[in-house]
Subunit: 627 residues, 2 copies
């Protein structure tokens, strides 16, 4: 029989009761303490370091007692009750970003609701039926349907058996007044709720953006179209891996991996939804519709659809346009009958989030050519106008989100976002989010740093650190050459903050992938860069980005600054459009079909472009005249 052991976490004072020989990583997750990690518990990313203070801990694999000092939580098992310290460095921070300054939660809504008529898929219909008479003796169900036909364009109505069973009492207790909440689709309506009398209760909807890194929910009143509240947080699936590939592997290869991933994202969404409902004094039973945008893998995990073939050639999703499901089927915090719609994807690596963004930005309505860029853990790019649309995806890797970079971190308090280097003295000054002591570098800081190092000549165009420069900041560390950005005296973490040669290689690969993708798009469309009329930058990363720096390192094309626009979290706003307008939803569905997906791994163009883009800013300097 397996005995349970207790794992105590300090200084949190939390405890997890787990089976003997459970990893400390799982125990921490169970105690609600997220640990950093990008390798899905494989022991390779070395982010989840903890200190075992007391009790028997074993090394996974060998079964030997774990060593003194910091150990990897994912590689250490609790052989009995143990006490564990989690350093600040190893903790997955929460909330901070999204409640901060210019982020997804503060974007303007000016671009919403201008074009589309407020006509949500879900609405409450308040009916007054004629009471039955000997002459008018149709059944209750026929009477209800006849009245609904008069109020809607629908001919067929579906009702759950439990609601049907209550129908006679519902109609009579409301004295033949009744309120039906309908979700309409293609001439057929689902009665998702039936209340006696004329219910004053609202019809609420959710726009949900399930990102690989963050999850954002908007709570919307479907009758007025008003946004009642917005909340966002990290996607706690990160503990199973930072990128979609690691999560697909986890879902496919671990026992119950898929359900773990699904339960995690559902609980993240539910936490946001219940928070929004509580803050607005609303009830989950009034939530009748949700529209979900996410990349193809995230939608698979959200619905618990096995994602295995997304990652295997020829990269086939189980469902690109999944059928609607009910809240109860997912355990979502809403009326159990609520209808959950996932926006359709274009392909395995161009998901409904990109479709939502394309919808929101109106690309498909313009005569001029727009380039839409969403750089997150993956980079997705879309090019086109009202006549044609082509999309590509490239695995930029998690570098711009801090992954694979020694002192990389997400854009949160303590992250370096601006870097300046004095030309002669090579003195460095940095600005951090929140103005506190620096802890590491976020995406915009990394881009800025790379641009400034290059400008100062500390790295050459191939990204190599020039070790002959006369500055103590250039040195050889454990991982080879490195540049000290912040000395430990000024750093928040008590260690020198460095950028290593490997970090720079990772950054180069990431930026090269994005730029090569853009080039492939243009080549496919047989267009020059100058033909691009507008560049839209979406995603949480976008809003922190310095355009000049991004051009300087060759991440973004060398176009005039006025051509660039940040659209913020386009996915959640596009989902909200679809939540509020049947027309927008139809358009999103049409868009997904209209967009041509260009598979980069299928041709050799991409590889050529990628290699050419591994220089700063590029091998072909004529592409970057302004740099």
């Amino acid at each position: 029989m397996t005995r349970k052991v207790a794992v105590f976490f300090s200084p949190d004072g939390r405890v997890a009761h787990v089976k003997r020989n459970t990893s400390l990583w799982e125990a921490a997750a169970q105690a609600g303490l997220g640990l950093k990690g990008t390798c899905g518990g494989a022991g390779t990313c070395k982010r989840c370091q903890v200190l075992v203070r007391d009790g028997p801990a074993l090394e996974k694999g060998t079964g030997l007692p774990s060593g003194a000092g910091l150990v990897l939580a994912c590689q250490t098992l609790a052989a009995g009750s143990v006490t564990v310290d989690i350093p600040q460095d190893s903790r997955l921070a929460e909330h901070k970003v999204l409640l901060g300054g210019e982020d997804v939660l503060t974007e303007s809504d000016a671009d919403l609701g201008r074009i589309y008529r407020l006509q949500p898929l879900c609405r409450k219909v308040r009916l007054t039926l004629a009471a039955p008479t000997p002459e008018g003796n149709m059944s209750d169900w026929s009477r209800l349907q006849a009245a609904l036909r008069g109020e809607t364009g629908c001919d067929t109505f579906r009702i759950s058996l439990p609601d049907l069973r209550r129908l006679a009492e519902t109609l009579r207790s409301g004295n033949w007044q009744v309120t039906a909440t309908l979700v309409e689709a293609a001439g057929c309506a689902d009665i998702v709720r039936l209340e006696p009398g004329h219910s004053a209760g609202p019809a609420l909807g959710l726009a949900i953006d399930v990102g690989t890194t963050t999850v954002v929910v908007h709570l919307v009143d479907l009758e007025t179209g008003l946004v009642l509240g917005k909340k966002g947080t990290y996607n706690k699936q990160a503990r199973f891996g930072d990128d979609v590939i690691t999560r697909i592997v986890y879902a496919t290869e671990q026992e119950n991996g898929l359900s773990q991933l699904q339960e995690t994202v559902i609980s993240v969404v539910n936490q946001l939804v219940t928070g929004l409902l509580a803050e607005n004094g609303r009830h989950r039973r009034d939530v009748h519709l949700a529209v979900v945008a996410g990349n193809t893998t995230m939608i698979h995990l959200f619905l618990a659809l096995p994602p295995a073939y997304i990652r295997l050639e020829p990269y086939i999703p189980l469902a690109g346009s999944p059928p609607p499901v009910r809240a109860a089927e997912l355990g979502l915090a809403a009326n159990p009958h609520a209808v959950i719609l996932c926006l359709p994807a274009v392909a395995s690596y161009v998901g409904g989030d990109i479709v939502a963004g394309a919808l929101l930005s109106g690309i498909a309505q313009e005569q001029e050519v727009t380039l839409f860029i969403d750089i997150g853990t993956n980079g997705e790019m879309l090019l086109g106008n009202r006549d044609w649309l082509v999309a590509v995806a490239c695995s930029a890797g998690p570098a711009f989100e801090g992954g694979g970079i020694t002192f990389g971190m997400r854009a949160m308090q303590g992250a370096v976002e601006r870097v300046a280097i004095t030309p002669e003295s090579y003195e460095v000054t940095v600005e951090t989010i929140g103005g506190v002591r620096p802890l590491g570098l976020c995406g915009s800081g990394l881009i800025d740093c790379l641009a400034k190092l290059c400008a100062a000549g500390i790295i050459n165009r191939a990204g190599q650190l020039q070790m002959d420069f006369a500055t103590p900041r250039l040195r050889r560390g454990d991982d080879g050459p490195e540049f000290v950005l912040v000395w430990q005296e000024e750093a928040g973490g008590g260690k020198d903050i460095v950028l290593t040669g490997n970090d720079i290689k990772n950054l180069l690969r990431a930026k090269a992938a994005v730029y090569a993708g853009i080039r492939c798009l243009l080549k496919a469309a047989e267009l020059e860069m100058e033909a691009v009329w507008k560049v839209l930058i979406a995603g949480g990363f976008g809003s922190h980005l310095n355009i000049r720096d991004a051009i300087a390192i060759g991440l973004l094309p060398d176009l005039p600054a006025e051509k660039f626009t940040f659209v913020g979290n386009a996915a959640v706003k596009g989902a909200r459009l679809c939540l509020l307008s049947q027309e927008a939803l139809s358009e999103a569905q049409a868009l997904a079909k209209k967009i041509t997906y260009l598979e980069l791994s299928a041709g050799s163009d991409f590889m050529e472009e990628f290699v050419a883009a591994l220089f700063l800013p590029h091998t072909d300097l004529s592409l970057f005249p302004s740099v």
Copy 2:
């Protein structure tokens, strides 16, 4: 705490473990021993007599020890463990009728399948999909839908989330061959099952007739249209009351009454279905569609829709045309996703069984006027042709099924079905079903008996026994005047079999109600009786009926014998038509809307006609020239 007590039943050797002070009636039901009863346990019909041989039994209501001798099971509580004898008289017999001679199970199928094309709502589609390629990289779900669109006229497909979750493996394990079982409706198809490869398994369907008294199931191969087997039995709901009104009261007023009634009928259907499947070596997972015919109340109880308002003015069903449900929602022995369709009703007392009968008999296609009569516990009559159809219902009462008649019984072994009376000597000879000693009279025997008593002058035209006749068979019993039909020496039950004055009154009321209904129909259509071209007699009762006797007592109109046809169990055959032909199903749905329901209680015509028909054969002898 309530202790359980044991109730032993002899000679069956069965035992029920029940809560203390449970009635013996409920205990018997729990032990699987059906007792007779028509009052729903109210203690008024006095059919459920049992003998307490041992142990403490209390009288319900008073709590006093129950008396010696026979007691009513429904009025006697088991205060401790008791042993109970159930006399043969009190037992609900099973199976016998329906496995006998000319009954619903042996009717000819010649009238089926002539007109309608075999095109069931449910079919298996065997597909061979193209394997995905880098160019053909649509999702699995899109690939399946595209192939299904090519094979069907449907554009939208629904799939359950569990089936969707298995889709990637289903397609790949079948090497891109897959078999989808579809249930189509209005341009939209439900994928009720998905199997890898080209499945050779059949698509099976059920035609179900849920009658107040009997339940019949046909197991059908939907691909060939062949009937694999037929089974019927009594509806065990009878223990809650013989007629629909008693059952509605039970469902409405007893705690869990509705679920008890539903579970009972579902278990009866399941018993038939599992028997049919076992005999044919088939599996319930292959049953994908069922079409159910029943009167409006039976359908309510089958779906557990509260039937309360069927019985209250202005007699409103909850649903006349209930939406399709899934087998799993009812607990029906079929594939959990199987679609269950209930045929639409016309009104509270003209149900889908009558619609099925009308469909089957093709009334709505004839130029000439047909009269369709279904006499069961209720009498339902339909008159019309291809231009118009009018229906009425009258509560004939259970007399023709043996209810409310001292020695009434159902048409089973030992039931008197023919009676002859010698003119001078008033000697009586009887014929019984099975040729055994008589136990009582079934419907046809009662009609015959009444006709012969009237012909012999033993009763007058008002139905009164003429006590001055010189025969010992006429005597005064406990309930007033009675006629001894069989002396106890010849009877199977060891008692004189008599027909009392009250029995005759009940029979007169029953036949008067049916005839008055027919007259009202004709009056509404402004037709004379002679305008009726054909009379169709449906229902189990019909096939035992002697037409001449039925005319002689004024139950059926005085028309030439060749105008009468027995159609047997039209309900189950009509349901089978709908199971096998989408066209037939659409026609049934159209029929239900086309038939005008004439509410007899609403006008005074019926009462006048009823009173006039309380004579033998009628007050107005000109209506019965041949008698």
